[in-house]
Symmetry: C2
Subunit: 211 residues, 2 copies
DNA sequence: GTCTATAAACAGATAGAC
DNA sequence: GTCTATCTGTTTATAGAC
């Protein structure tokens, strides 16, 4: 965190996020990152101690940004009635899709997914503990309110993963999807189509949970 | 393809597949690959011309393997009645999940997904054209038979992606899922639980398509 | 075909001037 | 804080012995 408004510092984080995200941590070179940030290679050592420090700074940056977007509501999900819980789920899913398909957040998401795909990554631990687990738990509680099924059962956990996973997939497999759909990127009409389909799926699943 | 039963050659491909898949193409070193294959670094240049040639050989290997597993049935999907089409979809989804979660194919899937996530990868083009597009098209035709909706509409294409995407997600996000579920890897009972959930989702979606 | 030895380019880190 | 210059190690590729 620290003084995150230092210009060189943030320029480096932004450039690193892009290159780590698009090429992977090991493949990205500090030289190229410094060049993109229009500064010197030594700035990385000065500001972050080294390449690994820059990686952690990127993780904190992403975690802070996502923490804001995916803020948990203050209310207790257990208090929601069935229909309220369902519309909360719909709204959250819509936000997740808008987030994962937006070009602005492509950097964050790609970086994050690459890190999370590596079990041993030093970044994985922190982000999982601070961001993912608590939010997944919260979604499970909302799922319980929406369906009456126990929040911490294996099947409810998997249900939540399967719904969120659909949205994540459209970012991860973006090149494949976009080629098959003949889309360049995710223009607004494409995002609307994806949202519509995934909300439809969610409603179908909730409906089938018992009617 | 060529003589794929040469021992050193296949040992190199197998080792490369593992290292490319788990660490990424750029991050993996030819030295480590040769060591794992218990041969000399120069064998890579001899058999494949270089690191990039080894990458393409891995792609062909994976494509051949997946082509066998995901063989398209000879019959025309348009001939299926609604219930037959639905059970074909269920069966295919089950096979996809079994494939993506099996430890044996973890290598192939990880390698493939890494390659497909890179739009510019030289491997992407070939695999997309020879494997993915034709199978996605076939699934869309089966989806049409199962729901009556036009196979090449945007929404049906997205529906197929969303269902397949769920299965792919459980491989891509395996570290996250397994940590949250407190699973080590995907033991048989876990695979059964995932299959059960995803088939449930599929049935729910098909049911909602119009009843 | 498989090996050793080495070349040429690249990486990240660091010392020190300003 | 930002720069140049350089150190040290590692990478892929290749020449040539066997």
């Amino acid at each position: 965190m620290q003084d995150s408004d230092h210009p060189t510092r943030t320029a480096l984080i932004r450039a690193a996020l892009r290159q780590f995200g698009s090429e992977g941590f090991e493949a990205a070179s500090t030289r190229a990152i410094a060049a993109e940030a229009e500064t010197n290679i030594s700035s990385i050592a000065y500001h972050f101690g080294g390449k690994e420090g820059l990686r952690l700074a990127c993780a904190d940056f992403v975690a802070a940004r996502i923490g804001k977007v995916a803020k948990l509501g203050p209310g207790d999900p257990a208090m929601l009635d069935r229909n309220a819980a369902r519309s909360v789920l719909r709204r959250l899913l819509r936000r997740i899709v808008l987030f994962t398909t937006s070009p602005a957040s492509e950097l964050f998401v790609s970086f994050l997914l690459r890190e999370l795909a590596q079990p041993g990554s030093p970044v994985t631990e922190r982000i999982f503990a601070t961001l993912i687990e608590s939010r997944h738990r919260a979604l499970c509680r909302i799922w319980q309110a929406a369906t009456g099924r126990p929040a911490e059962s294996d099947d409810v956990r998997l249900a939540v993963f399967s719904v969120v996973g659909q949205a994540v997939y459209f970012r991860l497999a973006a090149p494949v999807v976009q080629r098959r759909m003949r889309w360049g990127g995710y223009p607004p009409f494409a995002v609307r189509a994806v949202v519509k389909r995934l909300v439809f799926n969610l409603d179908a699943i909730l409906e089938a949970e018992h009617g």
